[in-house]
Symmetry: D3
Subunit: 121 residues, 6 copies
């Protein structure tokens, strides 16, 4: 598997575990709501994940972008659709979003390769 | 018609006209792209407008929120769907988004009344 | 009572009620956590409210500033302490915070007058 | 004189006075540095004020925009130059800057009228 | 000593020196005020550093977070208190703050280990 | 040539190519406007690039800062002028801009060395 992907996932999982282990009630609830927000509802999970992605881009958080790219990928978002999300983010958020778009494209390619070659051989 | 709506639309139209009349090529092109971004494509205009709304909320721009609320309303977004957009925005962007959500709810109500009573009598 | 105070409180209460009435589970939980976060814990409510205020200032949300000013006032924050919070906010957040500081000072004065003259006569 | 201008200036002056009267050393120094930053140096005051304006626009602070518009006006910035500043701000900062541009254009017009008709008759 | 800590401190010290050596009066004064802001006053240094930390988190600046984590650690902030600061930051600033919280937890652990094993052997 | 410079330029060029190859009309136009915005006009390219730099600093985007540092360097901005841009950015944007200033100084030094020793030997 692509090193960028495993590195992101492992660090994320390890540190989230530590945050939850600290047993702060508010932090635990925020994590909990986070899961609920993107569930199927009046809007589909796919649409919600696309909204999570566009929000992460205009707020310029690379890790949040990676996370929502993974979720969008799971939800079957196509590369053409992805670039329309990028278009909204770069228009509304400005060219300041471009460097994050570059890194998003790189991560998206890694996610696509992972599907074609899951064992990473 | 609701005063809040007409006030917003009139000021917006009047000032946009002045901006375009200044004849700055870059500004004119930005306005032009803005129209193109939300056109039907791989993603529907409805989904794009919802992404425009969520971006405006996390970036906390009341006028942009109003504009995209109008567009979402035109696209048939339901109140239940709207609150799921608010949920993503308030989760990702934090409670700092709540005051903008309050004003968004007020504007949404005005848009709904406008449909029921277009002449504002 | 000062008109600025009642206007803020009434609008806030009215719109919060509408948001909760919409019955979106995520929004309701966010409101719920909000209450919990500032409760006495390892840190006092006073310290947490001061942190809520400084966060609202650097993120430049006037309504959030007003809300936390009210809470700080209830917690017995003195004017001298308040200006030390403003100092941190203006240093870390930059002079872009100054206009919000001006409005915060105005609201703080209204809160102080309210104590001296609660009936607003 | 235009009401928007006097209202802005009066409120700003009155509240700044109160902030300085509170005698917080850090706040006073920040105000002091603010004056120094825009003085003639390796770069002219005009260029620095244009940079103050573009920063205020991308950070989306209407009062800061007004302040730097006044200073740019004093420094002889032309309307054509102004729109090139707006172009940079709207490109880098995104369409989220447009509503602030609308209000900036309105204030700029007021500043221009003030010159033509200083007594406001 | 933990490599992450020394790397951060060394780079910070080296570059701050260069910035001050450039002899720009405004930059030097900003550095100077920075020291003054967190001194004991009406509020304790501990409370001010906690406010510096929460501001850095909602503004999402990892290096600023590291710096204030060091100061909070020096001031005897406990891990339980720290998570209550994180709670305020993640509530007010939203889940966009989570990745910064993950990195903050990692740095906090390094600071704690440093105390137990100062020579880093 | 300095490794930091080549790494930045190569990654930037490679990923921009991929973004443009995706053939999204909006993204292509945004790239196109980007070029136009900084052309000589009522304001010089030098002044516009300085405004691009100060905007990137207050919005705290390291890659955008690097890009505009390169352009400012090409336009003959002196180190003394550069620090006056930093002064505006750190004053308006706050101490949260300091870590980005540290990295900007490092990149500026690399750009200066590149001129003295273009082959990097």
């Amino acid at each position: 598997m692509n090193e960028k992907i495993t590195e992101f996932r492992d660090y994320r999982a390890k540190m989230n575990e530590k945050i939850l282990a600290a047993n702060n009630k508010v932090m635990k609830r925020i994590y909990n709501i986070d899961t609920n927000t993107y569930m199927e509802g009046a809007l589909s999970t796919k649409v919600k994940e696309m909204m999570g992605l566009v929000s992460s881009m205009v707020l310029r958080c690379d890790d949040c972008v990676k996370y929502h790219l993974e979720k969008c990928h799971e939800q079957g978002v196509t590369t053409e659709e992805l670039f329309e999300i990028f278009a909204v983010a770069n228009l509304v958020g400005g060219t300041i979003v471009i460097p994050h778009t570059r890194r998003a494209v790189e991560y998206w390619e890694a996610l696509q390769e992972e599907v074609l070659n899951p064992s990473g051989v």
